[in-house]
Amino acid sequence: MADKILTEHFGLENLFKIGVYMKNKGYEAVKKVLSEKKPDEILAEVKAANLRGRGGAGFPAGVKWGFVPKDIEKSKYLCVNADEGEPGTFKDRYIMTHNPHLLIEGIIITSFCVGIHTAFIYIRGEYEAVALRLEQAISEAYDKGFLGKDILGTRFKLDVYVHRGAGAYICGEETALLESLEGKRGNPRLKPPFPASIGLFGCPTVINNVETISNIPSIVLNGATWFCQMGLPKDGGTRIFGVSGLVKKPGIYELPVGTNLKEIIVQHAGGMKDGKKMKAVIPGGMSAPILTEEEIDINMDFDSLVEAKSMLGSAAIIVIDEETSMLDVLMRVTKFYSHESCGQCTPCRIGNSWINKIVKRISDGNGKRGDLDKIIQLANNMLGKTLCPLGDAAAMPVMSIIQKFREELESYIPLGN
């Protein structure tokens, strides 16, 4: 059996068209589910598959769905998170561009399982071409009777809409995404209540990443046991690793969950560009604490990365070489978070902007002794003290860069200052 789940048919011409997709087992899972399965059976299968959220947090999808109240008169919603704003991440763009029907198929099964009749795909505003591709695919799915009022004659109904964001990283955070879908500024909500009980328009809502939902058809067709065998027992399936930075072959690589990071960089992404030496790697999108070259012999699954005090996040790998100044890296990281903080929580709004100002001062040659400690102190004041994870996401990489490259960073501060 193929060792890929999401990108297996990427080589086929026009896979994005429903005809080609259907010739390659497309919509078989939907047919199977609607004719043979009960929602409870699907939920049990997805839970057993240990499909962990591909957006970054790694929460098991089946457990999340299980939190949605069953007998409730309110509408329920599915929001697919296609915001893909985490720097270094571009995998969902590939799924939606090359295999949009796989996502739609996953949406149909998820909705049937949870009892949802309206789904939104929240896609980042810059991906206009991708949004058009999705809309085309959705329209094809309506024409073939996979979406609409009476899907395949089963009376199950589902409408799917594409909703474009407008350039705000914070809208990838699930409650900010809901606010944005309701036509507001993307200010995250206080949790609890969690979206599973009170989400979009005050109704129970499931929010999952594009890649997470796109795994559902194969779990339904091949079973949870198969899915776990593809990856790890407690972290099933594959991941689409997106490699960028100073490697020979940047791109996406779909590999089993738990594949070794060094193997991904050296064997799959071709190793370092221009034969340079590696200095550091960000393993899971910019928010993930940085790893030094000595630390990259590590398995890429959620638990292994936590053990290494970093995180798998969106599995976006950014590779940095020996010639790169870590002060430049720190500058990019802190500029990003200070720009993207929504401003709602003081520690994050003020903290990120102060940190960025201090880094800029060092970068301008005016750094002072104690500046690095001051940054650590400000980062500590954000950790765990904000409504949403952006505060942590900003503090963690900054602290790890200072901790692991302190000597180099101090060398940029003039003696005597």
Binding site: S75, E84, G85, E86, P87, G88, T89, F90, R93, R124, G125, E126, Y127, E128, A129, D159, Y161, H163, R164, G165, A166, G167, A168, Y169, S180, L181, E182, G183, K184, R185, G186, L200, F201, C203, G242, V243, S244, G245, L246, P250, G251, I252, I282, M286, A316, I318, I320, D321, T324, D328, V329, R332, V333, F336, H339, E340, C342
Partner: protein, 157 residues
Amino acid sequence: MNPELTDQTKKKIEEIASHYATKDAALLPVLHLVQREKGFISQQEEKEVADLLNIKPIKVKEVVTFYTMFNQEQVGKYHIQVCSNLSCSLLGADSLIEHLKSKLGIGVGETTSDKKFTLKTVECLGACEQAPCMMVNFDYFGNLDREKIDNILDSLE
């Protein structure tokens, strides 16, 4: 004064609004639509959109000022947005931005006097495998170098 939104646009706005449980939820897609027609969102459009969606104009302003993709003033015919995030800067985005500045004779955030080009830097565009990359209006261009940028600029009428 800009001319009012066309009837066609108003009809489209009604259609979009029908997708949502409340009409005001359609604000982002509606603003995209208006910006496409007008190029940017002025106070006049804020008011028009507010009327169409039965919300206060301040609610529209709150949103327009929060999201970086909504232009509050006219941008050039070609809106160049260069990614300055980590993967792109590792591969030389800074020098490309300098190149664009000197080639266009403007700074970041400025528009050429003939209103043809606006130059901006943006955070990650989600195309890091093609770093360094940029957008011109909604078209992505990746694996850039100075020569490629020159060719792209030359091809824009």
